[in-house]
């Protein structure tokens, strides 16, 4: 997928000599309208926007993202609403790549083929399915590729050498490295040096793949991982939304400010 928006945004960041900033927010958090507003405004600073499908049994997510997901579900978000949020977003930001992230049961209930065709219609650029690992994801990943959608493979500190090689070979434009053994939003318990060493091992296998690091990335830790092709911030943003709601402050303004601060740290 040579000319994919995802590839382009990594190239753009590289030209500016910085990692790409990837943000994660949950669709429908806390309302459909609000989440679209947040998405539009942070995309001025983020290079790639990850948008989560809220699920009520998320086995790999920590407290912050769970809270956002429960909030969105409570407010009545449906799968089709998630697609309509993306479609809406893409109407005004057609060059900003969007990666949808979710659990396989939602794809399964919606129907794989229907799901992919909806992604295509909504101009989704990539998909992360948390609980559909390699090699179980082979068929689905191939279907995505055929439809010009990046299926994003995950690699973790527990991934064995042999597996690593196979996953990289099967990956598309982007690979997601999970920084540590943790659910999302955990405190970074591994040193930046160790994470970068692991990151480098992945890079050395195939320099053409864009490798991003996620999990445990906050205002405090982001600078130390600047060397990566991209960095994902999710829980910190969800936390900011929760905080703003509690304090009855403007969520959109607070989240933009956070994303600006994050961006400044890696410039």
């Amino acid at each position: 997928m040579k000319n994919s928006l995802i590839n382009q945004s990594f190239e753009n960041a590289k030209k500016e000599n910085r990692p790409a900033l990837l943000t994660f927010t949950v669709a429908g958090d806390n309302t459909k309208k609000k989440s679209l507003e947040i998405l539009k405004s942070i995309s001025d600073y983020a290079d790639i926007c990850e948008v989560g499908f809220p699920h009520n049994t998320p086995i790999a997510d920590g407290g912050q993202i769970q809270t956002s997901a429960y909030r969105a579900i409570k407010n009545g978000i449906k799968i089709n609403d998630v697609f309509s949020i993306v479609r809406n977003f893409k109407r005004s930001k057609k060059d900003k790549p969007v990666i949808l992230m979710g659990y396989y049961n939602m794809v399964y209930q919606y129907n794989e083929n229907k799901f992919i065709s909806q992604c295509k219609k909504s101009k989704v650029d990539g998909l992360i399915i948390v609980d559909l690992p390699y090699p179980e994801n082979k068929i689905f990943a191939a279907k995505c590729k055929k439809n010009n959608i990046n299926f994003i493979q995950l690699i973790s500190p527990t991934t064995s050498k042999l597996r690593l090689k196979k996953i990289i070979n099967d990956s598309h434009d982007m690979i997601y490295y999970i920084s540590m053994l943790s659910t999302t939003g955990g405190k970074l318990k591994v040193s930046a040096k160790e994470i970068i060493t692991q990151y480098q091992i992945i890079k050395n296998h195939n320099k053409s793949k864009n490798v991003v690091i996620g999990f445990g990335i906050t205002e405090k830790t982001i600078k130390s991982l600047k060397k990566a092709d991209g960095l994902v911030v999710g829980s910190a943003i969800c936390k900011e939304i929760t905080r703003s709601i509690k304090k009855r402050q403007n969520t959109v303004t607070n989240v933009i400010n956070l994303v600006k601060r994050l961006k400044n740290k890696i410039k």
Binding site: H55, N56, T57, P58, I59, A60, D61, G62, Q66, Y70, I73, K78, I79, Y103, Y104, N105, M106, Y108, Q109, Y110, V130, D131, L132, P133, Y134, E136, L154, I155, S156, P157, T158, T159, S160, R163, I178, L181, S182, T183, G186
Partner: protein, 409 residues
């Protein structure tokens, strides 16, 4: 979709871990791939290792207290005046329920893998209590994840866990019951899988956990097979094995030796939790036609909405209060080898009262669901029909609920 004969059901899956091509599998985050692969390899080795098997048998006999009794419920049978009702009193096992088999095996595996920490989920508190017992016995540090609602309603088992030195981690997310406890336990494992072993409390979860649990509880039917031959000289001609089904660990254990028999000879009946009579909520994905979905790493029939969000469940029995069910029960359902039905809260309570009125038996609310079905069908059946109920748990843990509900009625 077809069952094979002569191969344990737990081994009748394809190379991706699916039974019948669509139930089970391992839908897990990348981080858990390696620990699950390690566990799979270790279990493959251990189940062929004579020393390990000897150890397991030793502890089953001297620690769990195998075999548990197989008795005729003479008074209840006379009262119902139909089929004979028998009980396999698995609640006699150390700790008061079948969960001890799985817990003991997991503790032994944890030791063999050189891990010092063991974690587990629990609904009724039995899986947690037994894991805490086994952990104490084998010198492991133990954490139990339990829904906040269940902690309140199953206090006696929580007290036991604490006495055994386990830490109970209350789970406040979602419905605060078993489903949330399993999710939180898996999350903890994702974060600590380098030094911690996870025990899934039933025949649910990623493929390997279904296998380990089924392999452990299969002890029940091995005992029963021998006891049947002892009491009846041979396996009776008309036999019905009734078991409650939440995740399905006791039911699989109770049936595993009998799956190869013709269903007209040995009928397998699973009883799910129908919930309160007047409520729309239940925990009966098999008997109330839920759709297939993915929950906790496996595909099975799951109570969910059309969007794939998992439904809240409701049951008086914390041990059955789970929206999913074992993939092997889904397989048994679709191959029509087993029949699944449900009993409501009220039917289970009535069954409990009837059984305790006539017999010196104190079945917990989970097997009371199975007794409800036995009581329902027995009067219509011939006297040479043998119904056996797996009385897989003791009602001590239900003290508070029974007091409240039975006074009110």
């Amino acid at each position: 979709m077809k069952l094979k004969k002569g191969i344990p059901l737990i081994d009748q899956h394809d190379k991706h871990g699916f039974w019948g091509g669509k139930f089970g599998g391992s839908y897990i985050p990348e981080t858990l791939k390696k620990p699950i692969e390690d566990l799979t390899n270790e279990f493959q080795k251990l189940r062929k290792n004579k020393k390990f098997l000897k150890k397991k048998d030793f502890y089953f006999k001297n620690y769990v207290g195998s075999p548990t009794n197989f008795i005729k419920l003479e008074n209840l049978s006379n009262y119902l005046d139909g089929a004979q009702i028998w009980a396999k009193v698995v609640s006699e096992a150390n700790g008061g329920a079948h969960k001890i088999y799985n817990a003991t095996v997991h503790a032994l595996i944890c030791k063999a893998m050189g891990k010092k920490y063991i974690i587990g989920d629990t609904g009724a508190g039995y899986a947690g209590k037994m894991l805490s017992m086994a952990a104490k016995k084998f010198g492991l540090r133990c954490k139990i994840f339990m829904g906040a609602k269940d902690i309140k309603r199953q206090k006696p088992n929580c007290d036991a866990m604490r006495r055994n030195g386990a830490e109970i981690v209350p789970v406040y997310s979602g419905s605060q019951t078993l489903v949330d406890a399993v999710s939180e336990c898996m999350r903890y494992w994702v974060s600590n899988c380098d030094n911690t072993h996870m025990c899934v409390g039933s025949t649910v979860g990623p493929n390997i956990f279904v296998k380990i649990c089924g392999w452990s509880t299969a002890q029940i039917s091995k005992e029963l097979k021998a006891q049947l031959k002892e009491k009846f000289k041979k396996i009776p001609k008309k036999l019905k094995l009734i078991n409650c089904v939440g995740g399905g660990s006791s039911a699989y254990g109770f049936w595993s030796e009998f799956i190869d028999f013709n269903k007209k000879h040995i009928e397998l009946i699973g009883v799910e939790a129908g919930g309160p009579k007047k409520s729309l909520l239940h925990a009966a994905p098999l008997s109330r036609n839920a759709k297939i979905g993915i929950l906790h790493g496996a595909a099975s029939y799951v109570c969910q909405n059309s969007e794939g969000q998992i439904h809240e469940t409701e049951s008086i029995s914390a041990g059955l209060d789970y929206p999913g069910v074992s993939p092997i029960h889904c397989f048994l359902k679709d191959t029509k080898r087993a029949r699944y039905t449900y009993a409501t809260d009220e039917e289970a309570l009535n069954a409990y009262q009837l059984v305790t009125r006539f017999e010196k038996l104190n079945p917990s609310l989970e097997p009371s669901h199975a007794f409800a079905e036995a009581i329902k069908i027995a009067p219509k059946l011939s006297k040479d029909t043998i119904i056996i109920v797996n009385s897989c748990g003791d009602a001590k843990k239900d003290r508070d609920i029974l007091k409240e509900r039975l006074v009110r009625n």
